[in-house]
C-alpha cells in the first residue's frame, strides 16, 4: 500500500537519528575508551549531584549515555537489586535483609541531613522537637498556636518509598504518627517547590536542597545547615549512598570512582552536601 509506506522515510530518519552518535572527545581521562549506557535511579536527594556528574562525563566522552530517574530510595534499592538499573541510590542505609537478598555493595559518598522547612514568608522559624511531632501527628493544626498567622498548617510528606521520609520519621519524629491529612509529594525537588508555593505549608527536605526559596526551621535551637550537620549539632543526619549489585565493574565502577575524585567532591560540595573522607 502506497499510503502506508509514507511512514518509512520518517522511520528511517528517526532510526538514523537514534543511531548516529556524536563524535568528539574530551578530558576526563578514566572514561577514555569507555562506551555504553549507565542507568541510575532511586533517591531524589542525589539527583542534582548525579545530573552534574553525568553531564561532565557525557561532555568528556560522547560515547557514554547516562540516564537518571528518581523514584525514591526504596525504588533505587529494589531496581538495582532486580538489575533494572546499574546504580540504585538511597538516602538511607540499605537494611541487612536487602543487602543479603541482592548482594548489594554500598558506597556512601556524602553526609546529608533532613531538615524541616517552611515558606520564607512564615514567621515561625524555630520549633521544639515535640512541637514538630505534634504538627506532623495533626495535634497542632494552626500556625496561631505557634505564634504565626491564624491559618491551618498544611503538612507535606513523602511517599513510602522515600529514604528522606524514613530518616525523618525515625530520627525527627521518633517514629511518631504522620497524619493522613498530609499532602504527598514524590521527591525532594517536589517538596521544595510545594513549600515554596504554599505560605502555610511545612515539610522536610534534604539539607543539601535548602536554598532561598524555602526557609529551614531550627529544631531545638539548631538550624539545619551543612555546618551543623557536619559538626554533629544537628541530629537528623544521614548518608547518601549509591548501591550496586555485587562488586561494580566497568562504567559503573568508573562513575562511582568519579564521585570520590577531587572533581566529584567539588560537585558534591557545590550541591550542598558534605563529601565523605
Amino acid at each position: 500500500m502506497r499510503r502506508i509506506t509514507f511512514i518509512q522515510p520518517v522511520l528511517i530518519v528517526s532510526i538514523l537519528l537514534a543511531a548516529c552518535l556524536p563524535a568528539f572527545s574530551g578530558s576526563l581521562d578514566s572514561f577514555q575508551g569507555e562506551k555504553g549506557e549507565l542507568k541510575i535511579s532511586g533517591g531524589t536527594a542525589h539527583i542534582p549531584v548525579m545530573k552534574e556528574a553525568a553531564r561532565r562525563i557525557m561532555m568528556a566522552n560522547p560515547e557514554i549515555q547516562i540516564s537518571i530517574a528518581g523514584g525514591g530510595s526504596g525504588v533505587g534499592i529494589k531496581q538495582v537489586g532486580e538489575g533494572l538499573v546499574d546504580i540504585g541510590n538511597s538516602g538511607r542505609k540499605a537494611t541487612d535483609e536487602e543487602i543479603g537478598r541482592y548482594q548489594l555493595k554500598l558506597f556512601q559518598w556524602a553526609i546529608d541531613g533532613v531538615g524541616p522547612v517552611v515558606n520564607p514568608e512564615n514567621p515561625v522559624k524555630a520549633l521544639t522537637k515535640d512541637q514538630m511531632k505534634d504538627i506532623f501527628a495533626g495535634k497542632v493544626n494552626n500556625w496561631k498556636m505557634l505564634g504565626g498567622e491564624d491559618r491551618e498548617i498544611n503538612i507535606y510528606t513523602r511517599d513510602e518509598a522515600s529514604g528522606t521520609r524514613a530518616v525523618f520519621w525515625k530520627k525527627g519524629l521518633d517514629k511518631g504518627a504522620i497524619t493522613s491529612f498530609a499532602h504527598v509529594v514524590v521527591s525532594n525537588g517536589a517538596m521544595k517547590s510545594a513549600i515554596a508555593q504554599d505560605p502555610y505549608g511545612i515539610g522536610y527536605v534534604s539539607v543539601g536542597h535548602i536554598d532561598t526559596t524555602v526557609a529551614p526551621v531550627a529544631l531545638d535551637g539548631v538550624v539545619p545547615t551543612i555546618e551543623t550537620v557536619q559538626d554533629g549539632a544537628y541530629k537528623i543526619a544521614r548518608g547518601l549512598y549509591s548501591n550496586t549489585r555485587g562488586e561494580p565493574v566497568g562504567l559503573t565502577k568508573k562513575f562511582i570512582d568519579f564521585l570520590y575524585s577531587p572533581d566529584g567532591k567539588k560537585i558534591i560540595e557545590s550541591k550542598g552536601f558534605i563529601p565523605v573522607r
Binding site: 499532602h183 504527598v184 508555593q197 502555610y200
Partner: protein, 286 residues
C-alpha cells in the same frame, strides 16, 4: 493463485483483529494475575472498603475510590451545565457563523494536552483557591474538580452536539413550520429527542474524568484519606497508581495498585456496556 492471495489476506486481517482485541483481555488478565496474591490474602471486597495504612498492614483502596468518586462527580457538576449551555449555543441559539466558529474552537480544545491543564492549574488556580477560602493548601478536591471540569467540557459538549445532530431533520422542519422560535425548537423538540444521546455523553465524560491521571495527581494533594470537605486534599485511583508504582515489586503496596487497576478496568467496562446498551435502545426506537 488469486484464491490463495484472497485467503491469506483474509487470514491476516482476522489475525490482526484477534491480536488487537486480545489486548483488552490481556490487560485484565495481567491486572488480576498481579493483584491476586493481595486480593486472595485480604479479599477483593475487603480491599475496596478498608483504609490505606501500610504501617498497620492495611492496604485498602477505599480512600482512593471515594477520592475518585468525589473529584469526578464534582467535575461533572462543573462540566454539565457548561456543556449544556455551549451545546445550546452551537445547536440553535448562536447565529450560524458564531456557532460554527465555536464548534471548531471547542473541537480544538479537546486537543489541549492534559499535562498543560495541570501545569497551569498549579501556578494559577492553587494559590487563588488557597487565598479565596483561607483554608488548606489549595491542593484539594475542589481545585482538581474545577480544572477537570473545564477539561472534559469540550468533549461533553461535542457529545451533546452529536446527539442533537442525529435528530431527524423532518422533526425540526415540522416544528419550524408550526412557527416555533429557535429556542422553542431547542426546548420542545431537540432536547426531549436527544435525552438518551446526552446521557451517553455524560457517561462517557464521566469515564474520561475517572480515567484522568495528571490533573488529580498534580492538583488534588494526594493525601491518603477520605476527604471531609471539598477543600481537603484527596487521592484518586489513578494518582495512587502513579505514586505507588515506585514501591517494591513484591510488597503489598505494589500489589494494591493492581487492585486499583482492576477497579478502573471494571469501571471502564461498565461505562462501555452502559453506553452500548443505551445506544442500542436508541437505535431500536428509531
Amino acid at each position: 493463485m488469486k484464491k490463495i492471495g484472497e485467503l491469506v489476506a483474509e487470514r491476516t486481517f482476522l489475525l490482526s483483529a484477534l491480536a488487537s482485541s486480545s489486548i483488552t483481555v490481556a490487560i485484565l488478565a495481567f491486572m488480576v494475575f498481579m493483584g491476586l496474591p493481595l486480593m486472595k490474602q485480604a479479599g477483593f471486597y475487603q480491599l475496596l472498603v478498608k483504609p490505606w495504612a501500610p504501617y498497620q498492614g492495611s492496604f485498602g483502596i477505599y480512600p482512593m475510590i471515594v477520592g475518585t468518586g468525589c473529584i469526578s462527580f464534582l467535575s461533572l457538576v462543573v462540566a454539565f451545565p457548561l456543556s449544556l449551555g455551549c451545546s445550546f449555543l452551537i445547536a440553535t441559539i448562536a447565529p450560524k457563523p458564531v456557532s460554527k466558529g465555536l464548534r471548531r474552537l471547542i473541537e480544538l480544545m479537546t486537543g489541549i494536552p492534559t499535562v498543560i491543564y495541570g501545569f497551569v492549574g498549579i501556578f494559577l488556580l492553587v494559590p487563588y483557591i488557597r487565598e479565596l477560602f483561607r483554608s488548606g493548601s489549595g491542593l484539594c478536591v475542589l481545585t482538581a474538580a474545577l480544572v477537570l471540569g473545564i477539561m472534559i467540557t469540550p468533549t461533553m459538549t461535542l457529545f451533546f452536539c452529536d446527539s442533537f445532530d442525529r435528530i431527524p431533520r423532518s422533526y425540526l422542519t415540522a416544528a419550524e413550520a408550526l412557527g416555533a422560535s429557535r429556542t422553542q425548537k431547542l426546548l420542545y423538540v431537540i432536547l426531549p429527542c436527544a435525552k438518551k444521546g446526552m446521557l451517553n455523553g455524560v457517561i462517557l465524560a464521566l469515564g474520561r474524568a475517572v480515567g484522568d491521571t495528571l490533573v488529580a495527581l498534580m492538583l488534588a494533594g494526594n493525601s491518603v484519606r477520605v476527604p471531609g470537605s471539598v477543600l481537603e486534599p484527596a487521592r484518586t485511583l489513578t494518582a495512587h497508581i502513579a505514586l505507588v508504582i515506585a514501591a517494591d515489586y513484591e510488597s503489598p503496596e505494589f500489589r494494591s495498585i493492581f487492585a486499583c487497576g482492576v477497579v478502573l478496568y471494571l469501571f471502564t467496562m461498565m461505562v462501555t456496556f452502559l453506553v452500548r446498551y443505551l445506544s442500542f435502545a436508541e437505535g431500536r426506537r428509531d
